[in-house]
Subunit: 349 residues, 2 copies
Amino acid sequence: MDRAEEPRRSKRVTITDVARHAGVSVAAVSKVLRNAYGVSPAMREKVQAAIAELGYRPHAAARGLRGRTYTIGVLLDNVRNAFFADILDGIRDELRNSEYTVLIGAAGFDPEEQAKTVRSLVDRQMDGLILIAPGTARDEVLATAASTPTVVIGHHDTADTHDSVVDADDIGAGLVVDHLVGLGHRDIALVSAQGTKANRWKRPPETVLTEGYLAAMERHGLAGHTRVHHAAYSDEGGFKAGMTLLTAERPPTAIMTGADVAALGIYRAAHELGLRIPDDLSLVGYNNTALAALAPVQLTSVDQAGHTMGATAARMLIERVEGRRDRAMRTTMTPRLVVRRSTAEQRGR
Amino acid sequence: MDRAEEPRRSKRVTITDVARHAGVSVAAVSKVLRNAYGVSPAMREKVQAAIAELGYRPHAAARGLRGRTYTIGVLLDNVRNAFFADILDGIRDELRNSEYTVLIGAAGFDPEEQAKTVRSLVDRQMDGLILIAPGTARDEVLATAASTPTVVIGHHDTADTHDSVVDADDIGAGLVVDHLVGLGHRDIALVSAQGTKANRWKRPPETVLTEGYLAAMERHGLAGHTRVHHAAYSDEGGFKAGMTLLTAERPPTAIMTGADVAALGIYRAAHELGLRIPDDLSLVGYNNTALAALAPVQLTSVDQAGHTMGATAARMLIERVEGRRDRAMRTTMTPRLVVRRSTAEQRGR
DNA sequence: GCCCTCGTGTAGAACGTTCTCTACTTCGAT
DNA sequence: ATCGAAGTAGAGAACGTTCTACACGAGGGC
């Protein structure tokens, strides 16, 4: 029982059609397309006219078989993270007027799922990869980086196969601690992500952040007052962390977090416990996402210049893709504190 | 001056390698891969062993040249819209255990940019496309739909070349008006997106929403009280709209919007004007994004079941891609009102 | 005039798959 | 025994590009 004939999907215009129409060889058209060496102005003009006339667009998948696909793949765990959106914007703006297209693989948090997505991107012949704080096993990232130019955003681990763009999270943590201490706080707790274990990244952002926090506290002579609580960077994670910390025997007067969204969860917990912000609790986020600036929120946060990070990553990647650089490099951004209304002088208790 | 030799990018394992290793023909391996007809159990086993042993993965770009790429492309204007994230999750969950990969093209709001992105997706041989509220010219969408299976989310325009998934936005508007009228409000304003013009979509969500609003107001005998204000669905857009509406001669006592993020802009405007929510102004969002539920916000909103919409769109698309259906269809979701703390009884003024 | 070089153009292999077609078995019915 | 069908395997073209290698003609230097 055969189904009725396929609804004739219209045929694509190919390079052969263009060549025939212009009365030249396929090779010549290809040269014009890639503006390779050895094309006379007359030839170029003829071919370009034919391209325009037929509305020809190169078939990226076919291109990929030999040369480039002019496609950059971006791995993301979570579309909801507004900070990642900033990075994406940066990438997009940098690449807007190039011939490259950006495709995003949104993988979720599961490391295996992420690994699968990275493989998908490689199998689809991406010219280059930007991995935003990948949870994938480090070895696997190094392996793909060996065959496809790769930029890793977030992890501080150095490597000579891939480039890196990171934020000086330790300095960021220091900024926050300084600010809070300046307001008279001493019991300052940090809520950061659980340091991932199995994937073998030694220096994910949360680790560096924690180090910076500990160092800054020590610098202020508050080593005995440190408290690090691990929680998922989500509303729920923040809520639970907030509940735990704020109902403890000696609750902190200020809490800083590694992500704005977690800070909002803490906000909710404080609310539920009848604590006012900033009167009873100072609260600081991280990443300065749109969330933090939102009217009813007004969260003090640390700005990471996501846009710049994205743009930088894209620029570095293209250098590699086009073979203009063959040594790994790393760019470090400097964070900046943005003070809003969620932090205030500590009142005696 | 030639650069030092390329750092030898490691070679891929190809189907030929697998065939050689298993001692069979390339064609046989291909058959096993696609589990096509005409493969003996012994053959299947041998080949699968070879695949596992060599760690072979099919090269999607090469596949695309003849058959499928097992890739679904999603067009998005704005990663920041949390509602779209819900849709994406739905798509991803539906496709998780299939062999398809989802790649996202984030295009921004510019219609030309979006058109470019759609073309990019087509050129990369996506097996199917999901377009979320595309701003691209309708004709162009119809043209691509003629050659690549396509599902359009959001626009209510009917078409026989592509499938559609929409929300009954008119009913959603009705729910809000009913709720607000039930609370005693009569001066209820609507802030919705500017109806797009040039792209020739006749029934984008905002148009349907506006119709529903007008119809509901009329049903309550409030036809004379309608006020529709156009604004961009962003914090800034909402802020400006709020300023205009709330400083008018006879300001509304309730404002409903087509997007949560715009409602937050209005929130900010109200704040700035010294109006309290919900005491002085009732405010309703749309889409019930994570934003609305956020602790400090607590925005009454309309839930569109983005997750289900995404999953449905994915299911419909795959049916088409695999040729199990050849007639266009449309699925309509029913919205649900989620009442939170941003709406209250209208106090006499 | 002859040989080189340079600039321009083309032929055709290659990329890694899918898929149509043909060839070879084997088995059952005649 | 013979024929046909059914089941399985493989050869090789095709997909739309890139890219290497080569051919050809025009100048330039001797």
